[in-house]
Point group: C2
Chain length 133, copies 2
DNA sequence: CCCATAAATTGACATCCATCGATGCATTCG
DNA sequence: CGAATGCATCGATGGATGTCAATTTATGGG
């Protein structure tokens, strides 16, 4: 195990499952608002996007992604990331694991060191999913 | 207070405060990785972006934003949002407050009802800040 | 072989957070 | 005025999460 990369970032937005449409048949005499003009995001799509966003919604993980991307060859090892972050090595390792499982980084262990790389297009794909909400 | 809208989404990325640059003067004989080619995101910028992302990194809040945007006039009241979400009214009110404080929605109370509107460009601005990491 | 180094895993702990029921506060209507 | 409605706030609670010290698992060198 360990090599399973969650590519949920690149999956195209599946059509809202239930697609309950507007339940206009119900006797809702709601006089407060106009009805919906288009379908909102589905519950499962919201769950998936929320999981992807949670992976980035942390200061330490944002800095890790940025530091990896800022490195030459977009590649960095844990030893170079621990000190600038001011966090312990296990904590950095934990955050990197979260980012890999979210499909934002890839891990490549060569010898003693583990090199992390930014997945091309992952950030752009996530940004696109946000604006499509 | 109460009407303070956090416009942190629209603020241009401030240059990394400390801007320690590359501490190339230090005797780091790191033989594992190449040095950084550009500056990574600052600690405070990461904190701010993380706070904005956390506001969206929740299935209920993503659906709320989408439902508000899907409404005619991009406007919706709480009563129309509670039932489709399957959450209690206090919970929906809490989520809407988080979204307003994050600068994603605006609140406009007219009579008995409270109308929520999507802040134009907020999602796009957030997406841009992600790709700039 | 055994030790040194790099990184991941484990276990524990404190904190944050989503959720709900109960309550309070306006506003509207009879 | 008094009842009803829409929404916000409060307090409590169970679960998720960030963090670290200690340990474990490789990998490499003497």
């Amino acid at each position: 195990m360990g090599d399973t990369v969650n590519m949920s970032f690149l999956e195209t937005q599946p059509a809202p499952t239930g697609a309950p449409g507007r339940a206009s048949t119900k006797e809702t005499d709601a006089a407060c608002c106009a009805p919906a003009t288009r379908d909102a995001i589905g519950a499962d799509a919201a769950e998936g996007l929320a999981r992807s966003l949670k992976a980035l919604a942390d200061p330490a993980r944002l800095r890790l992604v940025s530091m990896v991307a800022a490195h030459a060859d977009a590649e960095a090892c844990v030893c170079d990331l621990t000190e600038p972050l001011g966090l312990s090595q296990p904590t950095v390792s934990h955050h990197l694991k979260v980012l890999v499982e979210a499909g934002l980084l890839t891990r490549d262990k060569r010898g003693t060191w583990a090199y992390y790389r930014l997945v091309p297009g992952a950030l752009e794909s996530l940004a696109a999913r946000i604006t499509a909400v």
